[in-house]
């Protein structure tokens, strides 16, 4: 009954001297959800980009439904029924859903009758799979979860039988994840085939029937999901056993480092996002902020790190006011006081993707010795330093001269983390510390954060991963609609309790 729909044989792909895919063999059966996991930089995205025709393999063959095909561009893949949803969506913001799906559909101009038919077809697709999308809504009005659905719908409309999703849940809220999974399951039930790349093993266990593991460019194993578990998968991925929980010794809390009083913050559109927030963080403490994305965490972190003006209230750091309405210290001054910040959105804020890796590794510290002296960059020092931290944080490949956009997603995140953690800050603000990072690296990063806390740093962690908040924090606050709706000492707190608070249900 099972028949392969996609077969890859001996696929090789190199970028310069980086051998991203080595003799990859992979068979994907029709009507299944197939998981692909592997460490950061293992070559997952590269492999799928080859299947989608974005990259061309150096050698190897690809068969769809038993027929060998040549993929020179995404157009070829679409003709062969392959669709891909990228992590960064490729939609035109000010067009409607319908326009986005229809425009650019090769060689067709759609007017009148055809448009009506397209709309009817799309409506039907939406109903079949419970998409719940208004075809006339403008993209810019849609949440991330809905935009992702538009991408899926677009692929389906173009006749995709195989749908590739590259880390689809990284940017979603837990509810959105649930809804996405419902859609994926119903797609499977209708006979579509799904390839899912993810770092979250729980998603693999929940959703897939088969899973393939990649490590350092090679395919190191295939297994049926029912014959494995999270621990085994983790071990296959990293090549050693991984502690899925970190040790956290008790430490004495120190003096108050951050003191936030009656803080109100507006976003760029002048909407109030943080409402009358009061909080304190002490040295030797990790304060976790739980909450569904978009409930003010971003703006709170931006205000604390000197990027955003506050509307009212004030912020004190080491007893000194650093921010009041229209008067705040900028990030550089705060850095001098020992504050480091890992921003939520690496592409938008944390990195200049057109810079080389070494340029990003000193970003924000570039004017300090030894990286520069009397305003002249000390290239030799910077490279030496880069080599050192890239090894330490296991950024792959550890080539300081590589353009940052050529690093895999997780490795880009590691570049930011190594930069901010390495400066031994006294205060650390972290948004989504491990988004897109593999479990081996998560373990390492969590360990680092805890070490820093043990040494007396004050740390604020905002994360949408409840598990992460629970395993790191000493104290947890929950944000909902810009307000702090709950605060708990992290002892015997359950997911459920936090989940309710996050949904705005207060006891």
């Amino acid at each position: 009954m099972v028949s392969p729909i996609l077969e890859l044989k001996n696929i090789n792909k190199s970028f310069g001297h980086v051998h991203a895919n080595k003799d990859i063999n992979l068979t994907i059966n029709k009507g299944t959800i197939h998981g692909i996991i592997g460490e950061n930089g293992a070559g997952k995205s590269t492999l799928m980009s080859i299947v989608f025709g974005l990259y061309q393999a150096n050698s190897g063959s690809i068969k769809v439904n038993g027929n060998e095909i040549k993929l020179r561009s995404p157009k070829d893949s679409i003709i062969n029924g392959i669709g891909m949803v990228h992590q960064h969506f490729m939609l035109v913001e000010n067009f409607t859903v319908l326009e986005n799906i229809i425009l650019g559909f090769e060689g067709e101009t759609v007017f009148g009758e055809k448009l009506k038919k397209a709309k009817k077809d799309l409506k039907k697709l939406c109903e079949t799979y419970n998409f719940n999308i208004d075809l006339d809504a403008t993209i810019s009005d849609l949440s991330v979860g809905f935009r992702q659905r538009v991408e899926i719908l677009k692929s389906l409309y173009r006749g995709a039988e195989i749908l590739i999703l590259d880390e689809p849940t990284g940017v979603l809220t837990p509810q959105e994840v649930d809804e996405l999974f419902k859609i994926l399951r119903s797609l499977k039930d209708e006979g579509k085939t799904i390839v899912l790349i993810t770092h979250k093993l729980i998603e693999i266990m929940d959703l897939t029937s088969e899973v393939s593991v990649m490590r350092q460019g090679e395919m190191v194993g295939h297994t049926r999901t029912e014959n494995t578990n999270k621990e085994k998968l983790a071990e296959m991925m990293v090549g050693r056993s991984v502690l899925l929980r970190v040790d956290k010794p008790e430490v004495e809390k120190g003096e108050t480092v951050f003191k936030v009083k009656d803080l109100t913050v507006k976003d760029d559109l002048d909407v109030i996002r943080v409402k009358n927030v009061n909080l304190e963080i002490c040295s030797g403490e990790i304060l976790g902020i739980a909450g569904v994305t978009g409930n003010g965490q971003t703006e709170l972190l931006e205000a604390l790190s000197g990027i955003r003006n506050v509307e009212s209230g004030n912020i004190e750091l080491f007893g000194e006011t650093i921010s009041q309405k229209d008067n705040y210290l900028n990030p550089r001054m705060l850095k001098e006081k020992g504050l480091a910040h890992v921003p939520e959105d690496r592409q938008r804020m944390g990195l200049v993707t057109d810079f080389k890796a070494y340029e990003n590794l000193i970003f924000g510290y570039h004017d300090q010795e030894p990286y520069s002296k009397s305003s002249i960059l000390n290239h030799k020092e910077i490279i030496e330093y880069s080599n050192k931290v890239m090894k330490e944080y296991d950024v792959r490949p550890s080539s300081p001269n590589l353009l940052t956009s050529n690093f895999s997603g997780g490795n880009q995140q590691k570049i930011i983390l190594s930069r901010e953690l390495n400066e031994k800050p006294k205060v650390l603000l972290v948004g989504q510390p491990t988004r897109g990072v593999d479990i081996g690296a998560i373990e390492f990063i969590h360990q680092r954060l805890i070490d820093m806390r043990n040494k007396g740093a004050a740390i604020l962690v905002a994360s949408v991963e409840l598990e992460e908040v629970l395993s790191l924090s000493d104290r947890i606050i929950v944000m909902f609609d810009g307000k702090i709706v709950g605060e708990k000492i992290n002892k015997n707190v359950t997911d459920r309790e936090l989940g309710l608070l996050m949904a705005g249900v207060t006891e």
Binding site: F15, G53, L54, Y55, Q56, N58, R72, S73, P74, K75, E106, S305, G306, I307, N330, P331, R332, M333, L334, K335, H341, P343, R348, M349, G350, L351, V352, T353, D354, F355, E359, F363, G364, H366, D367, S372, S375, I376, L377, H379
Partner: protein, 373 residues
């Protein structure tokens, strides 16, 4: 448009940075050839004239280098601002005002030792050019007025201001024409023929002078600034990702102003060549379009000093060779060569990517074949 999608990771650097610009250039020249043909002249002869005119004899070659000097300055000016993603279209006006700076310094301080006068005049050019760029930069950074618009406006303002000054304030009162008196001969920059004369070689007049070396030095300066200093680093950060710059504590306001002022200063150096080196007085309209052509030079040179040098040289050849052609071929006017420049700008600037995918995929396929066999 073209549907060719090229696997970018397989395109060798020399294809995108050397072959593609050369193909675009050839196309522009080909189309120009058609125009020359229609105008009733033989394009092949025209090419011969261009090459002979710009390389064939020392004096011609010196002219070529003189034009190259100007294009290096204006090309670099555009490139520096561009690294901060600012389109400084105002090189023309900044050069004009830069010339005023050179003249005012030189005429008022001519009693000082000569090398000091030169140095101060160069500083005058930089400061005046930078000041003229400062205003649009300020308006961009504080009020969000787009530099493209304001720098164009400032070209007109510079031009009107200079005409006013040349007619009513600093005109040589013994003359009717709108230009100033000449600077005292002692402080002129040594010309190429004077320098060769010292070595015992006799050469006929050309406007090439010591400023050429200043242009070469500027190439090094810009390379160093952009890639080796903190300022260049910060300007590039702001240019590539303003959000990230703010996050890193790099001020976009400050860097917009720095980039524009350096850009304006470089454009101002054109005044050193023209006034201290060649005409020794300010004449109305002396920047003569170099500021605008500098945009094309920078685009062709991919905003990198290593690219700007050959691009400036190429435009030098066209200017010098072109004037030879208009001299020898009665049917070809000066304006014809303005059109040729326009075509080059069109093909290597605006239509930069017209044939890029085809060329790149051609090479990618070829190279693949070689690998397989």
């Amino acid at each position: 448009m073209s549907n060719i999608v090229v696997d970018k990771t397989k395109v060798p650097w020399w294809v995108s940075n050397v072959i593609v610009p050369l193909v675009n250039l050839s196309l522009a020249l080909f189309v120009s050839g058609i125009f020359i043909f229609i105008a009733g002249e033989n394009p092949i002869e025209a090419v011969k004239l261009i090459i002979f005119g710009s390389f064939g004899y020392i004096q011609g070659f010196a002219y070529t280098l003189y034009y190259t000097t100007n294009f290096i300055f204006t090309g670099l000016a555009f490139a520096v601002a561009f690294h901060c993603r600012l389109f400084n279209i105002g090189g023309e006006g900044q050069a004009y005002i830069g010339g005023l700076g050179v003249f005012l310094v030189a005429i008022n301080l001519s009693f000082l030792p000569v090398p000091i006068v030169w140095l101060l005049a160069i500083l005058g050019a930089i400061l005046f050019g930078a000041a003229w760029a400062y205003i649009p930069a300020y308006l961009q950074s504080k009020r969000g007025s787009h530099v493209v618009i304001t720098t164009i406006m400032f070209n007109f303002i510079a031009s009107s201001l200079m005409i006013y000054l040349l007619v009513d304030v600093i005109r040589d009162t013994n003359q009717m024409a709108p230009h100033t008196v000449k600077l005292p001969e002692e402080i002129w920059l040594p010309s190429f023929e004077a320098l060769s004369g010292v070595l015992g070689i006799k050469i006929r007049y050309s406007p090439l002078n010591l400023t050429f070396l200043l242009a070469i030095a500027s190439l090094f300066f810009v390379w160093f600034l952009i890639w080796k200093t903190r300022w260049g680093y910060e300007m590039r950060a702001v240019g590539h990702n303003t959000q990230a710059a703010i996050y890193a504590g790099i001020s976009p306001h400050k860097n917009i102003i720095i980039a524009m002022c350096i850009s304006g200063g470089l454009a101002g150096l054109l005044g050193v060549n023209e006034i201290l080196g060649v005409s020794h007085k300010i004449q109305a309209g002396f920047p003569a379009g170099y500021g605008f052509t500098g945009i094309a030079v920078a685009l062709m040179g991919r905003n990198h000093p290593i690219g700007i040098l050959p691009a400036a040289f190429l435009f030098g050849i066209l200017y010098q060779g072109g004037s030879e052609v208009t001299f020898e071929m009665p049917n070809i006017t000066r304006y014809m060569f303005v059109a040729v420049q326009g075509l080059i700008i069109l093909f290597s600037g605006a239509l930069e990517n017209l044939f890029r995918p085809q060329i790149e995929s051609f090479f990618v396929n070829r190279l693949n074949r070689e690998v397989r066999s």
